[in-house]
Symmetry: C2
Subunit: 352 residues, 2 copies
């Protein structure tokens, strides 16, 4: 299992509806009203999407607060990751992180150099500075998956400067950024640079709870945005993703409510899980929590939760982690309580 | 304009609804009942599509009458074209043909060798046989776009044997195959070969009138299908395309009705257009007609039709054609009559 969300593989293992704690989707579900907007748009399936996605680009630019010619759009964030990697010479990744960085790089025959995060999963700036070479593309999850740690504002500027000094490219995968507290916004932070040597990727997948619609968006230097547009497949984004984009980016209330909701549940889960003796949850800025297992392994925990109808994310498939880690999503209070109870139940069994 | 269907660019040029004769979509529209199926599926946007598309692959395999492990699925036919090209060393194309064959090959840094179709747009087998080299991938539209000519059964076997003898790969782009008369089925024809050295691509785009949904499917050697699956982006097909696939492939009546409808309108249009003196329509097996302009050019004809609310396809963007060609779709009787009347109107003006 190299990705979460694969319920199909486990549907016969539990007699009831599985609760998916392995994929990290906004527990509020898609924005209210979107369903009607999509239903109204079904007839658009009979015509090609705009080959230049003019409206969608306009909406995304306004939402991200960047110019239209700095925006990039993709068939999910993962297509944009692929598009950026395609332009690179050599790829630097920090591990553990989203497996597709390396996957896509290898598919495109790029050399991949891995740097380990420090033990607390913060970035080893010294190791980074001594590794980065002329023209390298550094990919960082911000916040990183599966660790949940967001790069600090000053740290981010330092990293950007290291990369820029080497004529490199900093690619920030911010698929979960919208779940984070509002201390800073990377797109605002780098506006003055015109995003030269920089790419920032976000997506409707996680924050707008639309993994099925396949819509990624982001911001980069205008010349890079143009190159990506030229290399992409025509009509790479489906017509209903185009329809959704015209709606979701304007849902201010939903966006605010989601941030508040996740913050509250994040604090609740972190607090409750801290009382479970066999695990060590890591602090997170995202809508998921990495957990170190102190005296058991991912398989035991996975199976225990599966038998109670909960799918968690085993983490040994992340390079740089081992069987001693799992990741859980942050969902609604009812499910979070079920999750906490299951942890506590297992804790009691282990203690005996 | 390197592709048809770009209504967005012309919406301000005509005061009324434009009729799109530049893209070749089934005039019956999407299968009846599909709208309801998709509307019922909207909630699926909140979960990831099955990362292995197990059900979709099963439905496609049954529809195409090939084994599941021979099927390939894509974000539209164009993604599959790209996926096959990615595996090739050198690409042979016949011109004029769909511009993306060369586009995608160049993006992937493949050498491209062009062979011209003969003057009647049939394949120059001798030129082909003397050009094909060890390991080449030959891409042929079947029927070809924009010419509408389908490769004959015996001719196709000869071409396959030439390619196979050179350890090459024959890629058939059959995005319009389902519109053709039922003389033969390429998937059936090559079943005995297990599709070694062969790929066949079709799509929901044209025949099922779903350009917005982005669903391509096809059939190839099982080892090639596996490689393509491994190279593709995860979740490349959106959840509603997955839903649509569970429905459209079973619509036997719609499939039959579409074939009959297109055949009737094809004959009607070919017959009516043969009376227009300034054009020479080519015989076609597809749902579009290539037209040679005898004493005018594409721009004049395009503008004349645009002012009457009809978008036709200029063909000079096809390598191997010049400004003396246009392509029109085959649509419903009402629109076809409007199209014919507009040709006749222009004919009268030209004659004066």
């Amino acid at each position: 299992m190299s990705h979460g969300g694969d319920l199909e593989s486990y549907k016969n293992c539990y007699d009831g509806e599985l609760v998916d704690y392995s994929s990290n989707i906004n527990p509020l579900g898609m924005p209210k009203g979107l369903e009607e907007v999509i239903v109204d748009g079904v007839k658009k399936l009979e015509v090609y999407p705009d080959i230049r996605y003019r409206n969608l680009r306009n909406y995304a630019g306004k939402y991200l607060k960047c110019k239209e010619d700095n925006t990039v759009l993709g068939n999910g964030a993962v297509e944009l990751i692929d598009n950026f990697i395609f332009l690179a010479k050599r790829i630097l990744i920090c591990i553990p992180s989203f497996s597709e960085y390396e996957e896509r790089a290898l598919i495109h025959n790029k050399e991949v150099v891995s740097i380990s995060y420090k033990e607390d999963f913060t970035i080893d700036i010294q190791a980074l500075a001594s590794t980065v070479q002329e023209g390298d593309m550094l990919i960082l999850g911000n916040p990183n998956n599966p660790t949940g740690i967001r790069i600090g504002e000053d740290e981010l500027i330092s990293i950007y400067n290291i990369v820029k000094k080497n004529n490199g490219f900093l690619l920030l995968d911010e698929a979960f950024f919208e779940f984070c507290p509002r201390d800073y916004d990377s797109i605002e932070l780098f506006r003055k640079t015109d995003y030269i040597n920089l790419g920032i990727i976000r997506a409707a997948t996680k924050f707008f709870a639309l993994p099925g619609i396949r819509l990624g968006y982001g911001c980069t230097y205008n010349k890079v945005a143009k190159m990506i547009g030229e290399n992409q497949l025509p009509w790479n984004i489906n017509a209903l993703a185009e329809v959704a984009g015209s709606y979701i980016f304007n849902q201010r209330e939903y966006i605010e409510e989601s941030k508040v909701y996740i913050e509250k549940e994040r604090n609740y889960l972190l607090s409750e899980l801290s009382t479970v003796s066999f695990i060590r949850p890591y602090f997170t800025n995202a809508n998921y929590i990495l957990i170190k297992l102190l005296n058991t392994d991912e398989k035991c925990v996975f199976n225990f939760f599966l038998h109670r109808g909960i799918i968690i994310r085993k983490c040994s498939s992340f390079k740089g982690l081992n069987k001693g880690f799992i990741r859980i999503a942050i969902k609604n209070r009812k499910n979070n309580n079920k999750l906490i109870e299951t942890f506590k139940e297992l804790d009691r069994l282990k203690v005996r």
